[in-house]
Symmetry: C2
Subunit: 344 residues, 2 copies
Amino acid sequence: MRMDPRKQNILLAIITDYIATAEPVGSRTIARKYRLGISPATIRNEMADLEEMGYIEQPHTSAGRIPSERGYRYYVDYLMKRQELTPEEEELVRQSYHQKVRDVGEVIQRTGQLLSQLTQYAAVVLPPKAAASCFKHIQLVQMGAEQAMLVAIMDSGAVHHRIIDIPSGITAADLEAISAVLNAKLQGRPMESIRLTLIKEIYFELSKQRRILELVMELLHDTLVRGSENRVYLTGLLNILNQPEFRHVEKVKTLLSILEQEDLLGNLLASDVGKEGVTVRIGREISCQQMSECSMVVATYSFKGRPLGTLGVLGPTRMDYAKVVTVVECLTKNLSQALERILG
Amino acid sequence: MRMDPRKQNILLAIITDYIATAEPVGSRTIARKYRLGISPATIRNEMADLEEMGYIEQPHTSAGRIPSERGYRYYVDYLMKRQELTPEEEELVRQSYHQKVRDVGEVIQRTGQLLSQLTQYAAVVLPPKAAASCFKHIQLVQMGAEQAMLVAIMDSGAVHHRIIDIPSGITAADLEAISAVLNAKLQGRPMESIRLTLIKEIYFELSKQRRILELVMELLHDTLVRGSENRVYLTGLLNILNQPEFRHVEKVKTLLSILEQEDLLGNLLASDVGKEGVTVRIGREISCQQMSECSMVVATYSFKGRPLGTLGVLGPTRMDYAKVVTVVECLTKNLSQALERILG
DNA sequence: CTTAGCACTCAACAGGTGAGAGTGCTAACA
DNA sequence: TGTTAGCACTCTCACCTGTTGAGTGCTAAG
């Protein structure tokens, strides 16, 4: 059996209606609402075909049809017309990005808020990956007798800090000296480079303060490998509870149990860093069992052409893809531009 | 009517049972389970008295009794026996605080996780208040052509950072010079002091770089007044969904809508900073309408005897106060000690 | 190929019923 | 006077049942 324009129209109608109402849609409804010029009976025949082809399914015998994952996929790939933002929404976006910005985290957070506000689903934003950014400045500051604070400022605008133990007897001047050497060697270098021969260079120059240096290197490496960059900005949990698919607490629980595992969510997003354009993952296309009834729409934002992180929207499979895709695309651009503006 | 020991025992039994089962408890149940040596009929009489006194109430005519807010209050104040941690739980706490700590935020976060894990309710932790802490180090770093990053390291272990616009023409050396002056003047001073005459002093010394100085002062002030310190660490949302009072999504929604307003939650906690010991707020004692069906147990943690912030547990009024109070007290101590250890 | 008509299916809802838990009251008892 | 057994009463909840309505598939006519 092949897809023909009439089948396409019917599938489009079914999906559109289901996205709007969350109710299984019957042949009658389509005939009445979507004026395709054919009778319910004909539509029924076509629907039987569409079901056989796997695009729609029936929750039970005497109910209407709902789109299957395959149906949504077909819709997203071939049928969907993007739905532009309303003037009010555009205005909201413009305003949000023209407020005074205080740091990168704030822009990212604000983007998350916008995402969830505009789509009414949950939003996730993965901040710039630390490993890919370069050192701008490194500073060691004495805290207690045997503690020092290590602060690393990256060119992505991220600031990493951590407390380290230092051997007693190290003076503020020593720390200053070490900071100076670290700065000289690491400034402008990507975080990844600290694994390399660089380390030896520094060791040589600072053979006296070996112990503390080891700690610093360990910390920097730590930040690189599993550092705070796996933090995820999550907004709009409340929105998602308004979706009828989360009427039952059980569903909410399974969803929340996923979202509480930041690392899992982080990896999910991280796997899409660098991809061109907007990616749509529907249901089980998300490689995560418990999220099989959700969809994600994600895109990568960048700075100076370099992909930095990803942002996305998370909602039920019955998601308003037409709108969400537009919003995600729009905000990806805006975020990239904002970063350009902030970081020069 | 006066409270006598028998009434107390019955009230204690009712509350204990209701906390355990979340079901209205009847006279029969008490007679069977709690062996007070009196018959259901007698218990009924006493219950009628307790109801008249306002300690318990009936959801409907033919149901058992449930404690009223006043009943919980009496319980917490006079009847409750604290429930010590099990050896396993103590071990868990010990382990958590003996892991290697990387910064203050991390200890705080871990404390939140422990709180929610041990109590099975939601946990909130208010990080150290910025205004009360002293500057340890200030650093300005050039980012783009017209942007600089301002980093302030506080003695509480907090690191504040923000991006500011700078007039073009400012060199890295200029920034370095400004940093030096700021450090000289502000080091060891509490954040609050920047409002004072200090500002004039610095202005005098740096009259050349007026523009950028204004920005820096503005930022510092900003951080003081409404800065990131109102961030709240929130954990264990998932736990709270297991409580039967949140079986219906509506309840979850109202709760979440509160918890999403970080500032509101922050203020709620902030109002208790500095109070001695553990504070229990039951139902409408929390000055927040929509949280009238919840209780909070909070305490203040400190560093060098100075109160820094608060931590607490949020759950339904039917909360296991005996356990929660112990846990909160225990973790307050542990957190204070951990900070002592980290910050020297 | 399309469509009207019809019999059939099934979820959802409303109304009715019985069981069970719990109460308050009363009268008997220590 | 305080305690207790007994009893009638109330109310929720779970269960059943019949009804309604939406929707289908099939068939036969257009």
